[in-house]
């Protein structure tokens, strides 16, 4: 029960984050979507061994967390199922890539580098996506997808799935509550009734999803105005924000900024 309620709570929690009135929440959704996609592209196509260069690219998510006033701890907690996975994807490299490289005069296995880089890439992309959904409401995201000419049917599907999941979870929570109240002193749910419970859950979930959909239709959903809901005008600020970050991402992924910076600072110190 705790688990289900917790899941519902978490979904609503994300929506509440996205609905806040922060500066970065107000940035045009298309700008944020494009930047996130571009950023993920840049991160993924980064050289396998260039962990130092990758660290430079961390500036985007770091700035996102700061501008969005998001808690890093919260972010890690919410992404707790994905983060370990993406960190582990590079593990085989440690054993498969047996070459040696010189790093600041020390011989290190290349596998270690590629593993760390891969993990870093994973973490950065996860956080970039997290920042996008934590600062952009679902409606705005759908609106941006529509602007990119993603087919309408697909966007509707996406939106309804999201609503359906919440409805299903709430319904499940309610059924488990009703069950436990009438089966006091029993731990968990008896295996025998699992079948009927899940069947019922599906039916009730569909029923409620149908009702929700009807209610959306009655209030103008899917009319010609449809996806205008998340509609936001594009301001000068949005364009500047876009250019700024596009520039930063390009610079960090094309030139070795950190080594150059290091040399510069080193030069000054000497």
């Amino acid at each position: 029960m705790k688990g289900i309620d917790g899941a519902v709570y978490e979904i609503h929690g994300m929506a509440a984050l996205a609905a806040r009135d922060k500066w970065i929440n107000r940035i045009h959704p298309l700008v944020k979507l494009l930047l996130t996609l571009g950023y993920i592209g840049a991160v993924v196509s980064f050289s396998r061994y260039d962990i130092i260069g990758l660290i430079g690219l961390a500036v985007y998510p770091v700035a996102g967390f700061l501008l969005g006033d998001l808690s890093l701890k919260e972010g890690c907690r919410r992404m707790r199922f994905v983060l370990p996975l993406v960190c582990l994807t590079g593990l085989p490299n440690l054993f498969l890539d047996r070459r040696q490289v010189l790093f600041w005069g020390v011989k290190v296995g290349a596998g270690l580098f590629s593993m760390l880089t891969l993990a870093g890439k994973g973490v950065l992309t996860v956080f970039a996506s997290y920042i996008l959904i934590a600062t952009t409401s679902l409606d705005k995201l759908c609106y941006a997808l529509r602007l990119l000419h993603v087919p309408r049917a697909l966007v509707t599907q996406f939106m309804l799935t999201y609503r359906y999941v919440t409805v299903l979870l709430e319904e499940a929570g309610r059924m488990v509550q009703a069950y436990t109240l009438r089966a006091p002193g029993q731990k968990g749910i008896r295996f025998k009734v699992w079948g009927s419970l899940t069947g019922l859950l599906l039916l009730r979930g569909m029923d409620r999803a149908e009702n929700v959909y009807q209610s959306m239709l009655l209030r103008g959903w899917g009319t010609d105005y449809g996806y205008q809901k998340g509609r936001v005008p594009l301001r000068v600020w949005d364009i500047l924000y876009f250019l700024f970050w596009a520039g930063i991402i390009a610079v960090f992924s094309l030139c070795p900024v950190l080594p150059i910076l290091g040399d510069l600072i080193g030069g000054i110190l000497i």
């Binding site: 609503h12 929700v212 959306m216 009655l218 209030r219 009319t223 105005y225 449809g226 809901k229």
Partner: protein, 251 residues
């Protein structure tokens, strides 16, 4: 505004084939009438209201709203003029916060954000739910959900108001508040309910349904005080009349 009207002629409908739930309903209402549809559980009240907004397509007979037949091609026009409050307000609300939910319809109809905000404020004020404005939907109580659901419909400024069991889950004060809202709505309204006291307080006309048919249609005062008629069709006199007409009743 003389075109505001509902015309239903010889309507048949069933959820399953060969099993009609509504059996030959004819019903007309217009202008600023207020009609209470009463009937026992399962009489077909909700089904009738849902057909009026075109939620089920495969009916036989004729339904016209403001002289427009209810068909697939006319649904968006018809729905923009009708406000419908579901019996189950749980289903009616689906956005994150109360504000977002009330703003859903005006935004969908392409109103500028300033106007949307005005409409939301007005709807909240009318329902006396201002303090719920920023609350998240899933944290509302049953009655609060009902108020929010009513507000989501008022923000559409509809010509016609359809309400399915609007007083369910409301406490006495909010119930009185609802009666006030209903009475201040000047256009055509149709209220399906077995809260006969509320129907008596808000409707001039009553339509009594029984097992998918209309058995009586007339002035609310007349129908709602006819004990024999009501009891023959699974209802009882409104509570406010029970004491007056029969004194202490033997059981």
């Amino acid at each position: 505004m003389s075109h505001i009207r509902i015309d239903v002629d010889d309507l048949f409908f069933g959820y399953e084939k060969e099993n009609d739930i509504l059996k030959g309903i004819s019903f007309h209402a217009r202008e600023s009438e207020s009609v209470g549809i009463i009937g026992e559980n399962g009489a077909g009240k909700s089904t009738l209201l849902k057909l009026l907004v075109g939620l089920y397509g495969q009916y036989r007979g004729c339904i016209r709203i403001e002289d427009i037949p209810v068909e697939k091609s006319t649904l968006s026009v018809i729905r923009s003029r009708i406000g419908y409050v579901f019996q189950d307000s749980e289903s009616q609300l689906f956005m994150n916060t109360v504000y977002e939910d009330i703003a859903f319809a005006p935004r969908n109809y392409g109103l500028p954000e300033q106007e949307v905000e005005k409409r939301v404020e007005r709807a909240l004020k009318m329902t006396g739910a201002e303090r719920l404005k920023e609350k998240q939907i899933y944290k509302l109580s049953g009655g609060e959900k009902k108020l929010a659901a009513i507000a989501t419909v008022l923000s559409m400024t509809p010509d016609i108001l359809l309400m399915d069991e609007p007083s369910g889950a409301l406490d006495p004060q909010n119930r009185r508040n609802l009666i006030r809202i209903l009475n201040s709505f000047g256009h055509l309204k149709v209220i399906a309910s077995h809260d006969l006291d509320m129907v008596l307080d808000t409707c001039q006309r009553a339509v009594l349904m029984y097992r998918g048919r209309i058995v009586k249609d007339g002035p609310a005062e007349e129908i709602l005080t006819d004990r024999e008629l009501l009891e023959a069709h699974g209802l009882e006199l409104p509570l406010c009349l029970q004491g007056r007409s029969g004194g202490l009743r033997k059981t």
